[in-house]
Symmetry: C2
Subunit: 196 residues, 2 copies
């Protein structure tokens, strides 16, 4: 069952991944079965195994694909020469954008990473740690250049990362607030409090 499935079309695979993320989000990874996934995608369970070898494989692909998007954005940002404030604003807006456009994937990646198997679990956690350290370095640079107040950089990073998760509530909420207003308010609250 564990042989690589090279012949699956990218579209079909993408469709299975999207259905899997929805099921993981709704039921949790542990409670989701391959049978449910087959039903959801309108396939026989046996033919689902022609496309993927296990639900762990799907979880891994979701988590590492989300990590790739965050990493690519941060790499690009680190390479440009804008100030720490603009960089942090871009990061806050990108996190909100990710939650709005890849909600199920980000939700699953935030909660179900603990079900990754080794070596993926350690690798994924190291990448998250590095991501937080790189954000802390931007904040430290902002402090050093007199842009930001002398907060503890890691406290600031985790406050921001927690705060942008409030977007999840809006996804579930019935209130009609535009995503632009939410993003603008979050940037104002989180960034203006940090700036000198």
């Amino acid at each position: 069952m564990a042989r690589p499935k090279q012949t699956t079309s990218p579209n079909r695979r993408q469709q299975i991944l999207e259905q899997a993320a929805g099921l993981f989000k709704t039921n949790g990874f542990n409670a989701t079965t391959m049978r449910q996934l087959a039903e959801q995608t309108g396939m026989e369970a046996a033919s689902l195994y022609n496309h993927i070898s296990s639900k762990e494989e799907l979880l891994r692909e979701i988590c590492f694909s989300v990590a790739n998007d965050f990493n690519a954005h941060l790499l690009q940002l680190e390479a440009d020469d804008s100030c720490a404030s603009r960089k942090m604003e871009a990061i806050i807006r990108f996190h909100i954008h990710m939650l709005l456009t890849r909600y199920n994937d980000v939700y699953v990646s935030n909660r179900d990473w603990k079900h990754l198997k080794e070596p993926w679990l350690t690798n994924f956690l190291n990448q998250r740690k590095q991501y937080e350290n790189r954000l802390a370095a931007i904040i430290q640079h902002g402090i050093d250049t007199g842009k930001f107040k002398a907060v503890h950089p890691h406290v600031a990073v985790l406050t921001m990362l927690s705060a942008v998760r409030s977007i999840e509530y809006w996804q579930r909420s019935k209130k009609a607030i535009s995503s632009k207003q939410i993003a603008d308010d979050l940037v104002m609250m989180l960034l203006k409090g940090l700036e000198q």
Copy 2:
């Protein structure tokens, strides 16, 4: 099994509640068994039933006791005549205080409320909604009196409530940062961004 257990000493009951919160937090409510709880408290499962009738009863008591603490603090604050900034600072500090002093209870109440049975589930969700509305009213008052910028009050509330949850990371983190520094940094970041 469902008769009220009036004869249990408050201390023994408190001890069972604390062990239950620890197990719910570590294993999740669904995966926790009465047998595990009996082992943890050093009792026979049968004699545990002399003290409590079900694990749902324990979850309910944890969730509603946490709600009582938050509500009592907010009631007291609403009655005094300090400005919106001071009230919001007191609320942020109280949330941090609760996470530091009743970590397991708050953690379980934030995540496992969905396993409450009716009529408790609806009642609990209504109380949370009311709590958020009352915080939003304080922020709206701050906007009306020119203290705060014109953010959407509910966006500000959920941003703050999400941000204070970053305290959970520090509980798990190896980094030695004092709770006072975390609280001061959070108040500065969250409140200064809101103030005019």
